[in-house]
Symmetry: C3
Subunit: 331 residues, 3 copies
């Protein structure tokens, strides 16, 4: 929807330089901007290109304050953030018509809040609770006693096993599976067969979590798997039983976290990382892509990047790689 | 459901110390036990904590036989196994009401055993056979001529391609795909284009297999992919065409097995392991997490742990890592 | 369906030796061939086994031209390719009855070509376009304004987010997710929270692409993710936002490609490879299984195999491994 730059500036807390009555109606990259679009630049070197683009206006950092601009500029201390917020105002995010589709099979005991949208072919089991403003996409399946908070968005084909609890504003992308049985067996030393260890714990997911397409998060064995608020999980990630993930942790695609491991607040985990069982990743550590953390290890170091398998501080790892390359060249 | 300790002891073949008339109604971890729960300890050092917990009774090893217990103890040579078996007695595992949901679309030619449950929005193709006691969860899709044994449990959104055969008591978690086309092409050396090699082989899965959420197992190209009895496969695992997996093999999450490889009985495969094509993992070998086995290799060594890429005995690998770290420190 | 060898020879452009009136009705491996089957051999050493098999005829290379054959032989410069083409003639590939199932929920605005099959419980949003001859499997979900070309085949449980465009003859296996949101956030430096960066770009998939089961391909952030024609993607592969993949690229299972990376034409990518963001893999390079390409790297070398993390030419990598093993043995 259209907004004046004056409005946008106020809402994203930016300082407006130029004509505030100009209207914008979308966001774009500099290269593909159309008239009416808002673009952003984080570095001074891209400013000229942005100003020369077809965009209606530019969000930029303080460096742009002195620019002899041909178009209005919104100055922000965090231009990328201001752009993201402007986008959420301007972009017609898919609006769902509230209501329960005639083909949805919702157990009569389910409690449904206001302005909930339940799409075609959804099935919801006994005792579930759906918070206001939540959207449940086509063909999702929610087991008995699942609880969803307010303003959640489940895309299509999501499966949520019985008893799982989600907070508010949780986004779950298509095909994700929440609350599946953990991978736990006991081997009978006589027969050599594996028998199922009980997988009856819960799964609790905090507010503002986003879970990527086809990711899987297992319920706890006897206690719960817990994902704190603000966690962002990419596609095809696996989280095992009894794992605890702290606030604002980011986990890139195809990473796996094994049973009972703990990831503390603000950790950043790259793609295809393997975290074995009973590991502790302490606050603020950064795990490089494909790194591997062996069982029972503790990784400590706010802001330090770890890499390799077994993961070590990246400086050590790069030094080892250099030494090895030199030795190989000598032969 | 409630059981007396005397009954539980008999059923899990444990020796009862104390009052056999005490009733238990669930299982729990020591920390979260409520009155009425059964807990277990494998190591003597945790026994006091278990006895001091709110649990009604404790399953433990022989070490507990002499304990001055404030509560009944069940002594077992395999306490974890006894606990798992007790759990399967006590925990109200989801009981499914037999019957075919009105919205399930089942081809009239499908043969359905007794006490089968087919949930909403399931579709089953021509000529399929569903064994007695089997449960097919919401929105599963079974192609033509699929055969399921008795007492299988398919959770929701499972896809089974035509002609796949499952044994008895097979559990398939949500979103898993069984019998998809293998990844096989022939490159036309003139055009540079890839053309599809026929993927028309079968997929046979033995008894007591469990397959994790969103895992994918391809059918064979011309012959069959075969998973033997007792195999346990975690989430997001990939098994390619023509692979043969032996009895009681365990495969952790996100591992991939490439075409025509053979994994013999009792092998243990960690998470994120990559097994290339035409590999043979011989009986009882153990592949550490993230290890990689190059094409055509044979891995031999019952009980030996292999690690790294290319995988080697872990002792060698750790020695190499130590040597490298020492060299890097010197520079 | 049955075909005479004379017909098959003409259609796959092979030279027929022997009785062209013999009929074949299927393809098989040498070991499992039944009378009536066609088999193939690529290497002379397997020719005798093929001729001794129960197969009706053999496709082979020039080396077989002089064989004193007990059965007809089809000589081809590319016997594997000729076999694949013969298979596509002979094997009753699943034929779908055209029509829209009564339970499919298709928005009235959707434009549907001729001979389209839409199976049970499919949902298709406003403004979608479905090309002639396309099959949409059970319980697929297509968002608004999705465009499918002609003769596409979507297996079951596929999700396609709004606005995604597929070319002709695209095959999408069960559970794949196309057009999901990219993994992009901006961290508010004050609150420490991550806010969603707009993920509103498109996804364009070219002709003759095949996408494996449970793979996920994200839409672009502001611009598009682009998959060129002839690309083959295995199961559980992840492709992030803004990635561009060139013609006839092959990507094996569980590989991940991070944001804004470019894979040029004819690249071959092994399984479990990790390609970080803003990488360029130049034309014709080959990435060995589990290799890892760090951010911003350029990989150059037609026909050269790269291996390890960070990926280097395989000769260097193997030399390094050898040096290291030697050093470790000395200690």
């Amino acid at each position: 929807m259209n907004r004046t730059l004056k409005d946008v500036a106020a809402l994203v807390r930016a300082r407006l330089l130029g004509d505030g009555s100009v209207e914008v109606r979308g966001v774009a990259s500099i290269r593909s901007a159309s008239p009416g679009d808002l673009v952003f630049v984080e570095e001074e070197k891209s400013l000229d290109e942005a100003l020369a683009s077809r965009a209606a206006a530019v969000i930029a950092g303080e460096f742009a304050a002195a620019a002899a601009a041909g178009k209005p500029i919104l100055i922000s201390g965090q231009p990328r953030l201001a752009f993201a917020r402007a986008a959420s105002l301007l972009v017609d995010s898919q609006r769902y018509e509230p209501g329960v589709h005639a083909t949805a099979i919702v157990h009569p005991s389910v409690r449904i809040g206001n302005n909930v949208t339940i799409e075609a072919y959804v099935t919801i089991g006994q005792g579930a609770v759906i918070g206001s403003g939540t959207h449940i996409g086509a063909a999702c399946h929610l087991g008995a006693n699942v609880t969803l908070g307010e303003n959640c968005n489940l895309l299509s084909h999501v499966t949520i096993y019985p008893g799982v609890k989600l907070g508010n504003r949780v986004i779950v992308h298509a095909g994700a599976v929440l609350g599946s049985d953990g991978f736990g067996y006991v081997r009978d030393s006589l027969s050599g067969c594996y028998e199922k260890f009980p997988q009856i714990g819960g799964l609790e997911v905090g507010d503002d979590v986003e879970i990527g397409a086809n990711s899987t998060i297992d319920r706890g064995a006897l206690d719960a798997t817990v994902i704190a608020g603000g966690v962002k999980i990419d596609n095809l990630v696996h989280v095992a039983h009894n794992v605890r993930i702290g606030k604002n942790v980011v986990i890139a695609a195809q990473t796996g976290v094994s049973g009972s491991s703990v990831i503390e607040d603000n950790v950043i985990v790259g793609g295809q990382v393997g975290i074995a069982d009973h590991v502790r990743i302490e606050e603020g550590a950064i795990l490089g892509a494909q790194s591997g953390i062996p069982s029972n290890k503790v990784i400590r170091g706010k802001g330090i990047v770890f890499w390799g398998t077994p993961a070590r501080p990246i400086r050590e790892y790069l030094k080892e790689l250099a030494v090895l390359a030199r030795l190989a060249k000598k032969r």
